[in-house]
Homo-oligomer: 130 residues x 2
DNA sequence: GGTGACTAGATGGAGGTTGCAGCTATTTCG
DNA sequence: CGAAATAGCTGCAACCTCCATCTAGTCACC
């Protein structure tokens, strides 16, 4: 199913809201736990998503040169970002419901062989009635 | 959010199972009603999805030259296709649950301003102390 | 018998996304 | 020193998406 790049964004927003602020490398770890799909998340996708979120004004970043190790680019949500997260929640809620309906629909059908229609035989009463 | 090309496939499979068999132009109409997202579905995506499903052995097609109007390429599910649909149901069920969890998670957080962490202020005790 | 509307399938190509592989740099540990 | 871990970032081929457009058959109408 691939990486479903689009769902990296909302999860990152949620994590940032929960944690207050964070940086790419750390988020990469947390992402596994919160991912909407079981697909592994690409590092590249994560970094690119963060940059894009910043370009769109949903997060801001600044360098943290303090602790040991290389510098970190620390991100935090803006107000626009919080709102964006809410919007994601609304959208995902709808999709979630639609998917649940879909699953129920599939399950409600006779399993196994295709009951209603024999193969592509169908062409029994074609409408050349005109 | 775009067309979410990936979700055209399961919906087409479901429709074919329900109807026994059908063709592109007709499916295009039904798709609106069953779509998982509110995005309109591209004709191009539909036709290409059908071809791809056939290439993967999930459906078979034959020409219907009978009725009025141009010939139709009529598709129907194979047994592999039925199984593929089941698999889709399993996957989508998981994603649906994960999304619902996500939404609940978002909603459970304090709305409005970011409580836990003030802006990007964080850097309160910067280490120019060195 | 010409014209437009409708049905039906399909493709072309610009532009965007993704996944992989790799790069740099800093610090810590043995 | 050299290796490993941390941290961020980029290049690029392959792939996907979206829009526009094309072909062609039939029908209704004048």
């Amino acid at each position: 199913m691939g990486n479903l790049y689009r769902f990296v964004e909302p999860v990152v927003l949620l994590l940032l809201k929960k944690k207050g602020c964070s940086y790419g490398y750390e988020l990469a770890g947390d992402l596994e736990a919160h991912a909407l799909t079981d697909a592994a998340i690409e590092r590249a996708a994560l970094y690119r998503t963060l940059r894009q979120l910043e370009a769109n004004g949903n997060v801001v970043s600044e360098w943290d040169v303090q602790g040991g190790g290389p510098a970190r680019r620390v991100y935090s949500l803006t107000r626009a970002g919080e709102q964006h997260l809410e919007e994601w929640a609304t959208v995902l809620e709808q999709i979630s419901r639609a998917m649940a309906r879909f699953v129920k629909d599939v399950r409600s059908l006779p399993a196994g062989k295709n009951s209603g229609a024999r193969k592509a035989a169908a062409r029994e009463a074609p409408r050349q009635s005109s």
